[in-house]
């Protein structure tokens, strides 16, 4: 076990990250160590990252093995809303600091550079030579002309009543609660503007090589060769570096300098079509949320209609005052822009949440987004057209799925397989896929009306080991069969996983009262097994 994060006291005592716990215990006998709760931290951090969607639509978490990740925002085209990159960075870090977190951040044109500066030169802002108000968000995306800027925020949870950590060494001051560095953020990569490149290389040059997000082994090797800063790598022969340290080093270097592309995996969907409302006073009642959604749905529907579009996925984001984001999603079976329908889907969804609904200190902003867009032109209904009700059905399925969950409303999809339980796959109605042309149900085969979820083992008496069943015991009751037909032999699908299974001989058997059962003997007598087992698989009408 190793130390992942330290508080100020531990640091003063001379402990360091990555040290083994046994060593640390020997140095500081009274050490308080806590095991990291990764899932809790990931959830906490994820909620935190989502909440930053109010600063930029593209927020991502960069995984980091040492800490818990970095929070990365793509702030291309949004900085003017905050009054420039420097001000934006100050605002973002400032509001986190006000919450008692220790944060460090940086702005840079590439993800790699932002990461490096955030970790080793926090507070740096690079690549902001153009006044950002000259670039509207759309022109950035289209021309690729804008400097992509990433504020890198590094957080540590601390207590407000603790004195600020020494400069440049943000640490958990939580008196032994070693939560440590929490987050890393990633930024959107983009083409680097020529003018900014020189400044970027210069600002990275003095940083240690480990700022390149390379492995400890690689940075140690570089140090042994005397290559201690990133600047010393510039202009080195690439072939030699690659031969010694692998292509990943060059990759990281290129990514940091913007010569290689790197993408952020945004946590939340981004779209051009959304409607949002910010409240002067935070709201907390679920009914108010429902009303707002209705209103937003009308605005969103107007946007979609103007462009002749419909959407299948709708996202509702509730931004809470206490920096949590509730993200609800509903899916429609067919593209829609009917405001009433959308609002109703969310109303159903929210209704099921009532027990879990927790507005915290209130909701400050609600955003409704539409994704999975497709063209949807207005339709003129003919006077003599026969309405088959398919649209009504789809709406019904949407409503049911929104309240009961998409996995609850299913359709049976034929699968090309002889094995009875594989011949049908249930799939959500709202996310249906086309039928497999090779598959289909053959009505000529005798198949039961109900199929048990899994074959149930039964005790069967047969006149002959390989003959039809004469009696069975199922669920502690005994049945005597007066009629039986079979067997229908179903072999193993050897091209599928589970090929070790045995052949099955299926029988249809009817007891004295007229109940009909579908049961099978697993394993061919004498050739596959000496003691075949019997299973009940379904019941007929």
């Amino acid at each position: 076990m190793r130390l992942m994060a330290l508080d100020g006291l531990a640091e003063q005592a001379g402990l360091s990250e990555g040290q083994s716990l046994a060593d640390a215990r020997a140095m500081v006998p009274g050490l308080i160590a806590r095991e990291i709760d990764h899932s809790f931290l990931a959830g906490f951090f994820g909620a935190f990252a989502d909440w930053h969607a109010n600063a930029s639509p593209i927020v991502a978490i960069l995984e980091d093995e040492r800490a818990y990740g970095d929070l990365m925002l793509d702030i291309t085209g949004v900085t003017h809303l905050f009054g420039g990159e420097r001000t934006m960075l100050d605002k973002l870090t400032g509001r986190l600091e006000a919450l008692g977190f220790t944060v460090q951040g940086a702005v840079a044109p590439t993800i790699g550079a932002a990461w490096a500066l955030c970790h080793y030169a926090p507070g740096t802002v690079v690549g902001a030579q153009k006044s950002s108000d000259r670039f509207s968000p759309s022109s950035v995306a289209l021309t690729g002309f804008a400097p992509p800027i990433a504020p890198l925020t590094r957080l540590a949870e601390g207590r407000r009543d603790v004195p600020p950590p020494p400069q440049g060494h943000p640490r958990d001051q939580g008196g032994g609660r070693a939560l440590g560095r929490l987050l890393d953020l990633g930024a959107v990569p983009g083409p680097v503007q020529a003018g900014a490149e020189a400044g970027l290389a210069d600002s990275l040059a003095p940083l240690p090589v480990s700022a390149l997000r390379i492995t400890a082994l690689q940075s140690e090797g570089l140090r042994q060769m005397g290559l201690k800063t990133i600047g010393q790598l510039y202009g080195r022969e690439r072939g030699g570096l690659q031969a010694r340290f692998g292509v990943s080093l060059l990759n990281r270097l290129d990514q940091a300098l913007g010569a290689a592309a790197e993408r952020l995996a945004a946590r939340l969907p981004a779209t051009d079509y959304y409607a949002e409302r910010t409240f002067a006073e935070p709201i907390g009642l679920i009914d108010d949320v429902t009303m707002t959604v209705k209103d937003l749905a009308h605005r969103l529907a107007g946007q979609l209609e103007a462009d002749g579009l419909g959407a299948q996925d709708f996202h509702l984001m509730l931004f809470r005052l206490d920096h949590k984001l509730m993200h609800l999603q509903v899916r429609a079976g067919r593209a829609s822009r009917d405001a009433g329908h959308i609002a109703r889907l969310f109303a159903n969804r929210i209704e099921t949440l009532v027990a879990d609904f927790d507005a915290g200190f209130g909701i400050e902003m609600i955003r409704l987004m539409a994704t999975s867009l497709s063209g949807l032109e207005a339709v003129q209904t003919g006077v003599f057209a026969l309405d088959d009700g398919a649209a009504d059905l789809d709406r019904l399925y949407d409503r049911m799925a929104s309240r009961l969950g998409p996995e609850a409303i299913l359709r049976a999809k034929p699968v090309d397989s002889h094995i009875p339980e594989r011949a049908v796959a249930f799939e959500p109605v709202v996310a249906r896929t086309g039928d497999d042309a090779a598959a289909g149900f053959d009505p000529g085969r005798k198949r039961p009306l109900r199929l048990l979820p899994a074959p149930e083992e039964i005790v069967v008496v047969a006149e002959m080991p390989d003959g039809p069943p004469a009696r069975m015991d199922w669920r502690r009751l005994s049945y005597r069969f007066v009629r039986a037909s079979g067997p229908e032999r179903i072999g193993v699908e050897w091209w599928q996983p589970g090929e070790g299974a045995l052949s099955r001989d299926y029988y249809t058997a009817e007891d004295a009262e007229g109940r009909r059962f579908w049961l099978f003997r697993e394993g061919l007598y004498a050739t596959e097994t000496a003691t075949p087992r019997w299973f009940l698989h379904g019941v007929f009408a």
Binding site: T352, L386, D387, D388, G389, A390, D392, L393, R395, L396, Y397, R399, M400, R403, L404, E407, A408, I409, L410, R411, A412, P414, P420, A423, V424, F426, V429, F441, D442, P443, G444, R445, K446, R447, P448, L449, R450, L451, L452, P453, R475, L477, V482, R483, A484, S485, T508, A509, E510, A512, E513, G514, R515, R516, G538, V539, F540, A541
Partner: protein, 265 residues
């Protein structure tokens, strides 16, 4: 503002209209007299069997009835059950449905966690004008399924014109306000024409326990022995070894096909 009494009177009128339902009576009479019972659209039906062991028969009967109310405009079937009870009953099986004369593509299966949600889903599905029948498979007794709730479902069925079938098992279930209550039990089949030892076409012993008198008057038949053949539901023939072992035709119940019947006689 209406007075309390006025509201109650108004409600009574609505209820009376729903209960007498003259159109219902007409269709029902005609179908029953043909010798094969058929529940009309716009009714709440309770279909119960003595025990879960005969669950296949209850579902089979409900499907037969549902098939009878499918029309060109109302084509969909909705099967709803509680996910906690699926282990015991099993879900409707697509290939089996198509052999039974129901196109599996028409049917949607809902596995629902909570009883309250199940009731909501029944109501919601019945209100959709493209749904012909809702089949709710409820194994155990549930406190939420009281008389008031079933009354509400009955009204919903009348208002929307969809048929609702509640499949119940055993006698300790709650009272219900269903228009029609059917008791269904399996009956021994006749065997196949060329293989007397093999199970033949499914047979049912059906008893209309409730609703018969209201809709048909005293003395009307309330017991039937019916058989499911490839032409649809048929009154059971006494002659043993009757029918070919064929899948039922899919879709709307066809007119009896003379040439086929002559071959089987």
């Amino acid at each position: 503002m209406k007075t309390r009494q006025a509201l109650i009177d108004e409600l009574k009128t609505v209820l009376r209209a729903a209960d007498t339902h003259p159109a219902l009576r007409e269709t029902f009479e005609g179908q029953i007299k043909a010798g094969t019972p058929q529940a009309p659209a716009g009714t709440l039906n309770e279909v119960w069997g003595d025990n879960l062991r005969s669950g296949g028969v209850s579902l089979g009967f409900a499907l037969m009835q549902a098939r009878g109310v499918i029309t060109g405009r109302r084509g969909a079937l909705v099967y709803l059950c509680l996910s906690g009870e699926v282990r015991e009953t099993g879900l409707p099986y697509g290939p089996g449905l198509s052999g039974f004369g129901i196109d599996p593509g028409l049917m949607v299966v809902g596995r629902i966690q909570k009883t309250g949600d199940l009731l909501w889903a029944i109501e919601e599905a019945a209100a959709c004008r493209a749904v012909a029948a809702v089949i709710a498979d409820i194994v155990r007794p549930h406190r939420e399924l009281d008389f008031t709730v079933s009354r509400r479902l009955a009204m919903r069925a009348v208002a929307s014109g969809a048929a609702i079938f509640m499949l119940r098992y055993g006698s300790d279930r709650e009272a219900s306000a269903a228009h029609l209550r059917w008791h269904v039990a399996p009956a021994p089949s006749a065997g196949l024409a060329f293989d007397a030892k093999a199970p033949g076409a499914a047979r049912f012993a059906v008893r209309l326990e409730k609703g018969g008198r209201r809709f048909l008057g005293d003395g009307a038949a309330d017991r039937w022995q019916v058989e499911w053949t490839h032409d649809g539901l048929a009154a059971q023939k006494d002659s043993a070894a009757g029918h070919r072992d064929e899948a039922a035709l899919s879709g709307i119940v066809p007119a009896a096909l003379g040439d086929r019947l002559s071959q089987t006689a």
